[in-house]
Amino acid sequence: MSDRDLSHQFETLEQQALASSLGIWVFLATEVLFFGGLFLLYTVYRIKYPAAFMESSKLMDIKLGVINTAILLTSSLTMALAVHSAEEGEKKQATLRWLFLTMFLGIVFLGIKGIEYHHKFVEHLVPGPDFVLESINQQQAQIFFGLYFAMTGLHALHMIIGLGVLSVMGGMTWMGKFTKAYSNPIHVAGLYWHFVDVLWIFLFPLLYLIGNR
């Protein structure tokens, strides 16, 4: 047991590891409920305005959506490998490689998201006074797009926070903080990243795939 890894309030490394695991999972439960409010609104308005929701969903760029989903799933794999590498006490270059790949994929995801946002902006599909949509009931479609931006925007914000966390993990890896005995921080960061992935796993079909094409 090395003392430098053990915070003063804990007795053992096992206790500390359990605390960090429980802490992040409790935090993820709060995150689930944070998005829960959005899922509630989505469910109610989907039931109230089914036609407008299906038609609006068809205006999503399914190609970019699929690409982004694949990117995010891949980033989850690389994240898992980064954590694996750190936990197994492999060379720090290996861990860093997987971390950078994960962050790179995250940035590509955000870039593509940005392109999609730009398209929506050009097409006047951003809620507000400029929102124009003739073919579908305008107000109902605006609610769909309002929820689209709120959900994907908050998801993107979580990705940005995740990228920040991963940068810190990169720094800690570089300084050789992680050993076979101690890898809590990167383990926790990985769980957060996977969670953001799981969120997208639900957002993607709810927003892109509800209308038959």
Binding site: S7, H8, Q9, F10, E11, Q15, L18, A19, L22, G23, V26, F27, A29, T30, E31, L33, F34, F35, G36, G37, L38, L40, L41, V44, Y45, K48, Y49, V126, P127, G128, P129, N137, Q139, Q140, Q142, I143, F145, G146, L147, F149, A150, L154
Partner: protein, 537 residues
Amino acid sequence: MTTSAQAKNYITNDYHVWSWVATRDHKRIALMYLVAITSFFFLGGLAALAMRLQLLTPHTELVQAETYNKLFTLHGVTMVFFFLIPGIPAVLGNFLLPLMLGSRDLAFPRLNLASFYVYLLGASFTLAAAVLGGVDTGWTFYTPYSSTYSNTHVITMGIGIFITGFSSILTGLNFIVTTHTMRAPGLTWFRLPLFVWALYATSLIIVLGTPVIAVTLLLLILERGFHMGIFDPALGGDPLLFQHLFWFYSHPAVYIMVLPSMGVVSELIPCFARKRIFGYNFIAFSSLAIAILGFFVWGHHMFISGQSLYAGLIFSFLSFLVAIPSAVKVFNWTATLYKGRIYLRTPMLYALGFIGLFTIGGLTGIMLACLGLDAHVHDTYFIIAHFHYIMVGGTIMAYLGGIHFWWPKISGKLYPEFWGKLSAMIVFVGFNLTFFPQFILGYLGMPRRISTYPPEFQVFNVMSTAGATILGVGYLMPFIYLIWSLRYGKDAGPNPWNATGLEWTTASPPPTENFAEVPTVSEEAYDYRSRPEIGNV
């Protein structure tokens, strides 16, 4: 060396400003919270006093209607989000949880400090909104008034409350993990002090409820900024969805306020009755039951809001169920007195006052859960009286009781007992004079949130204002003599009440690391009878 290392406590440990600003010691963070929360308590109290003065006569022109609306919003927001919700958990909980568990600190000391600064950040947004001109939506922020019609600083205040929510979440998360992982050897779940159970149940609500209010306020801000229509019927939205989301948190939030105070009372009664608490398991589990059932009843705030009759029936039924665990607690506390050795010290007076007022608050709550009666008294002063019996008569009584009980531990000093008892009695009398007439006003039909009223309601309003003045004096007194005691009070010693519990086994004030060595527990909680060495109060 002028002072030996052992004599240093968490306050004298280091005097540099930085040692406070960047502290990770839960006890110092608790003290910083105490200062912040007390400030908000007096701010909210001043707003309340101004309102009571306005209501002294039917058409007082002390403040304009607009100002009055901003006053009750300020009163509600500061009291709910900045005093009652963080109150007991962030001050007493922060200070005591590691001490009661026999650990050196919370599981995540840095998060704990972060939660305090997040609280301050949220508080500064809220104060900025108040200073810039105030908000007039009420603390409930109902749409579409808040999203479209109000032209006050709703967004700024929304951001403030949104941010403060994360402060609660961090505290709740920290408490949950700490309780699971940091208990001293031998300290099993059923040997825990009941205050810890109450904090745990509270944290459960905080962690599962607060994110929902956070996202709700965020959506309100977006709606106000972009008019997406999600809460605005003029744009195809449904304003009742806002109410559902709001009360999904804000009803359980009532239990965030009252559960910790029940925990405090469960500590005070056995100590001053010198007896193990009656029905430990039932009190412990009733906390969890309240935390969980509390999430199923939010629709009782919406019986006359246009919610469906069917939903009204379901929510009414479930609301009655949550009354049961509260009743069980009251009976168990009362039964604890039986065959006790009772000392009527200041904390005990507060605790007994709590039981009485909470009983009235709880029973009038049953009236509000009852559909046919709620349809008459909803949104009247009856509601105001009811929830002030719970939050002021309940939470603040217990908070003050707890502050008095643990003040010797926190400060190392004893307060003057005579003034303590006097203030407890003044608070009790002032409270009842303020809020009991409001039950009558409410049944007569006086609506809440009004600055002028029909003249026949005046007598009861005058009584209420008079009571509020007395109550204000009652609250000022502890503020003065507790500060006085810091300098002039007698030294308390480690255990002035001869109480059980690990927090009393260490010095007062405790050293930074709490315990010289990790204690081992082999007794049940509140084991006053079978350990004669403990002695009397």
